[in-house]
Each structure stands twice: as C-alpha cells, then as structure tokens.
Symmetry: C2
Subunit: 378 residues, 2 copies
C-alpha cells in the first residue's frame, strides 16, 4: 500500500516550503488533503496567513526532482497513506501546539533499512547533552536491555544521553532510530557522523525537515514531538531544569504515553529536571532496563523482579529460632529467662533454641549470659 | 494535667515486665485500663497467655522504687493522661501489628527538656546505618533546613543516616528527638554517647523500654513504629532493600503519615530500597529540605520553589527577536529570506531583528549569511 503519487508530490512540496511542526499545517492537511491545500496555497488563497509565507516559493518548488535527488542519496519520503507510515504519529493531531510547534508531520524523510511501521515497542531514551558519566552509563545500560529484547530505541543523536542511548541499543544489536532536527542526509553533531552512518545502514535516521536543512532551535522543538510520538514511552535519564529533554517529556505526557524518569543524586543539577518530573507525578521512577520493560511491556510479559537483597543466613533458621535470636541482646549477656521474657517464648523452648543457635554460631555464652555471636550480624 | 498516680505505677510495672510493642497489651490496656489489667495479670487471670509470662514477675516488681530511681537519673515516665503525652501515638491503636510488634506504648521513658506534647512539625529522618557520604550529607542538609524552621527532627541515633539527621538538626539549633531501642539512660551505639548526652541536655531521648534495658532486634522493630508515629512524616534518605528503615517506612504508610524518599544513583545499593518505595507509589520523592517542608507544612506555608534554572540571557529578548533567533541555523550561515521562512516572520521584521541581535552579540554575519554567535549558546 502506498499513498497516491500526487499526494506524495504535494506533501514533498509542502515539506520543503513550511517549517517542521508548522502548527497551522496539520489541521489544513486533514481538512483539505495535501493536493487541494497545495493548490489553494499556490493560488494565494487565505489559510491563516500561511499563503503569504509560501505561495511564491511553492510555485518555484520542484518536488519531482526533489524526490529523485533524495532517492539517489538513499532517502525515502514516507507519508500518511504509505504502508510504512508510523500510525502512532497521527495521535499528534489531537495535541495542542507547544512552543508554536505541533501537529502530524507532512511526511518523514528516512534513511535506513528499519521500517517505521514495524518498530517493536519503540522506546525513547533522551536526556541532557551535558550528561554525567553516571547518566550516560545508565542510559546505555537501559538501552542495551531494551535492545536485547528487540525494542527499538528512539533518540535524537545529540551529545550525552542521546548518544549513549543509540550506543547502548547498538551494543545489544537492537534496532535504533535517530530523529534529527536537520535533514536526514546530514550529520549533526558532526562528531556523530559515523554513528549516524551506522544507524542509516542498520537502523533508521529520520527527519521531518527535507534533505539539506540545517538544524535550528524550532526544528529541535519540532523534532522532540516526533521522538515522543514515535515511542510508546519516553525515559528521561538526566535533564537539568531547562533541558530540551523536558520538552520531549511534555510531549510524551500530552500524548498520554508512558513518561519515565531515572533518578540520580539530588546534588546533581543534571538530575534536577527528572526529579521534578517524578515529584510532580508526571513521570514514573525507573531504575533499570527491567523497570522500563515492565512499564512498557504487555502485562505480565516483563515483570521487574523486586530486589530481595542478599539472603540473610538467618532466613534459614526456624521461626522459633529467629524469635529467640531476636530477643538476645546485641551486647551484654542475658539470662535464659530474660531472653524467654523478651521473646515471649516458653523457657524450655528458649533453651533448646539457644543451644541450636550456639551450635550454628549465632549466639555465645559469656559470663553474664547469652549474647549474640559474630554470625548473627551477617 | 497528669495521669492518676495509681495508673502511672501500674504502667511502670507493665513497662518493666512486658516487651516494647507487645501486641496483646495495647488492646487490653484500652479495654481495662492499666490498674485493672495489672491486677488481673497479678491474679493470673487469662489474657491471651500474657499472664503466664508476667504474673510472677509483676508481683516482685516495685514501680515506686523504679520511678524514684528513674527520677534520680533524670528520667521521667510519660504516660497517656499526662499533659506531655504525645497524642499522635494513640493512632497506633488502629494499626495492625508488624513483625509481632504494635499498639500504643504503655508509656515512654524520657530524658531531656524537650516536651513531647509540644514538638513542632516533628519529622522523622531515617535510613541506612551503612550510609554513603552522599546519603549522610543529604540527611544532614535536610535536617538542618527542618531544624532551622524549628521542626523537630526525630531519628534513632544509629550510625549513618540517623546520626547525620541529629547532627544536621543540632547544627541548625533545631530540636531533635532520639528514640532508642535500649533504655533511655543508655548509649547505643556507644560511639554516640556524646551526641545522646547532648540530646538529653537540649532535646529529648526517648524509649519505650525501661531504664537499663539492652537493645534487641525486636526492640528495634518496636522502636521504629514510635519514630513513625511521633512524626508527621518520615523521610527515608538511604535504605538498601532490607534496611530497617523500610520497617519505619511501612509504619509510616500504615499510619497514613507522609512518607518521603530521597533518590540517589540507581547504581547505589543504598538507594535501592528508597527507589522501590517511590516507584511503588508509597513514598513521595523529595530532593531537599524545602521539598520536605512543602510536604509537611501547612498549605501555602512552605512552597518549594520549582527550580527555574539559570535565567538565560535570551529571556530578555523581545518575543519577535527570540522567534528570529530560533530560526537562525546553529552552524552554517543562512540568508535573511531563509531565516524569515524558518521563523514565519516578514522579511523586513527579520532584518530589523537580526541587526538588533547582531548588536547584542547573538548572531553574526559570515560569508554564507547569518549564523549564531557565542552568546546565543549561553
């Protein structure tokens, strides 16, 4: 199944001539369809002032050549109506704009073999560019565990947490999707060129902006909504109070997707934004990949094991022995009847238990009576 | 106001001859009153088997001498009916026993000038004995901030978090209460003798166990319920999965008091128990003394300031200038009309804005057009 060619061409033209996340576009597209909308704009007919910005340029635009050139560079333009269209993005239609960005994208420019309609439990792992080594280690670990389960790790290819997220997924041979603010043919940041090439070869590199576009701040804001909307849930690993990752978090909440936060030291500014999300109830606290799988997985599919701690040797004692052991003073000795009173256990039973506990090294007999021995402190 | 002397004597006898938190005692006391209960037990009359444990010793017990001796050592025995009785402990009557400990205490043995009926917003700060330097620093800081507000910091005088909690409160000249598992005349751990003497001189040292008693494991369990019940809320700073602090946390929840948890690195075993509490929804995440005051304070009395982060210089730009600045590429230059298109702003306005932004150091003109300058990255 694929969208009609006329629609694809109209969308390619609109993609080139409007900004990603242009909030007026999504509603008009839904109402008129891409062909009629493009034609109206070409005719300079009123649509919220959008025509003033684009009309002249729309006429000069050549979407046929644009799509051919994209194909030569290994890019495809995925649009609503295509089998590959990730339907979860349509949820964006129901969400109010944020920072003047919003709506369902006109289309997505994609590089890489991963099909966007077949992402298995996509999970966004995002956070600060200026991450700590703690944050990057946790992001990589969570992404590796998600990747090992075949979950698609979605992130923004930025420095810090994003990079660690892709790296973690790749290390586990898991699928990973980079959503960029610049054209999908470009490498930003330049230092991540090799990683982006790898993702383009084995995963997917996606952008709402057409090839060649430079990243701008509003394109980052528009991009963040796509990260949130592609994924079933977003894990924020580290985010200072004004981190862009909090923008992705807000989109996640507005989309009613799972928002998760990894805590860190309260003394770390990099965790402050995450703590705010958890404290305010917006995000669920997660501490591991297992926690994330539990939040996202089908019920019962992944249940994070509640950590039980090291089994204490006292767990192997009988209930009566434990009761008696609990009543032996931590220091100073105690007579049998004093232990019996403290334990609420009959004298004879206490004697039996104390002898057994002495044999196994839990208590010892001193001049002043029974006291705990080394093993009781295990 | 003070309890009838006969009742105080009966309670002193019962305190000496039953274990702290003896779960059968509380209901019987409420039903029969201390005098009748003691007399019944003296007569060996059936009360859940309690009489077998205590009858003979009750006869031999001399509460008059006990109270006189206590007074000589600077201890008072506070019982229900006394003006000083902390009424919040009565809530324990409605809570099921935990680890075979429960109920309202028979009475409290108290050293120190702080009156238990006049604790201002008592808050428990508890956690692992084997705390990290991170944990003790945070516990001391939170307690200092609570102490500075005159809140009474309640803890257990143990190593680690407890010690840091008392230390933090004292450092801010705030009231602090140590609740012990041994007699209030004793120092456990011995290394904290000086701190306990200080609290006895300026705050309060409290125990349900009569003077001279050694600490046993069940006395710790009984003690934890008093820490939870004395306080309006409990802050767990660090707790491994099997930490005793989680016992205090459970009491706090069962008493419907505020349970708060301080997060830490997910890689730290010492924070694992706290993270479980937050993740499961039992505890509210708190990151500072201000957060704790907000949870405990009267509505509006303390509102933790949502951290806003360093104000960015861009906040001082006009809305139009921000809009234009957002549309300037992060790297590579862009022509004015390209910026105008990205910003969705008329060409003339963009030119005006760019010139203003150039003057203030946000953008610069290169050979390839406008690009961001250093200040834009502030």
């Amino acid at each position: 199944m694929s969208a009609p060619e006329q629609e694809r061409l109209a969308r390619a033209a609109l993609s080139r001539l409007t900004e990603p996340g242009e909030p007026r576009l999504s509603g008009l597209l839904a109402e008129l369809g891409p062909v009629v909308l493009r034609d109206r704009l070409l005719e300079g007919r009123g649509s919220d002032g959008l025509q003033d910005d684009v009309a002249t340029r729309l006429a000069a635009c050549d979407p046929v050549a644009e799509l051919e050139r994209a194909e030569r560079f290994g890019l495809r333009f995925v649009v609503p109506g295509d089998e590959e269209w990730p339907a979860q993005l349509d949820d964006l239609a129901g969400v109010e704009p944020l920072h003047r960005r919003g709506g369902v994208p006109v289309g997505l420019w994609v590089r890489g073999p991963l099909r966007l309609d077949a992402l298995h439990h996509p999970v966004a792992v995002v956070g600060s560019r200026s991450a700590t080594t703690y944050g990057t280690a946790v992001a990589a670990e969570i992404s590796a565990i998600a990747g090992r389960e075949g979950y698609a790790v979605v992130s923004g290819a930025a420095y810090g947490i994003d990079h660690a997220a892709h790296r973690g997924a790749v290390s586990a041979d898991g699928p990973s999707v980079a959503v960029l603010a610049c054209g999908a043919d470009r490498a930003y940041p330049v230092a991540h060129r090799a990683m982006l090439e790898f993702l383009a070869a084995e995963g997917a590199v996606v952008s709402e902006a057409p090839p060649g576009c430079a990243p701008t701040r509003i394109r980052f804001l528009a991009r963040n909504r796509l990260i949130a909307a592609l994924a079933e849930g977003t894990v924020v690993v580290e985010a200072a109070v004004r981190s862009g990752a909090l923008n992705t978090a807000t989109w996640t909440s507005r989309l009613n997707r799972h928002l998760m936060g990894v805590p860190g030291p309260v003394t770390s500014a990099s965790s402050q934004g995450v703590h705010e999300l958890v404290r305010g109830g917006a995000a669920t606290l997660v501490t591991s990949g297992a926690d994330v799988l539990e939040v996202l997985g089908a019920a019962g599919e992944h249940l994070a094991e509640t950590p039980r701690g090291r089994e204490r040797s006292r767990d192997r004692l009988t209930r009566r022995q434990q009761q008696v052991l609990d009543a032996v003073p931590l220091f100073q000795g105690a007579a049998v009847d004093s232990v019996a009173r403290a334990a609420g256990v009959a004298l004879l039973e206490v004697q039996t238990a104390l002898v057994a506990l002495e044999r196994t090294g839990y208590v010892e007999r001193g001049e002043d009576g029974w006291r705990l021995a080394a093993r009781a402190h295990d």
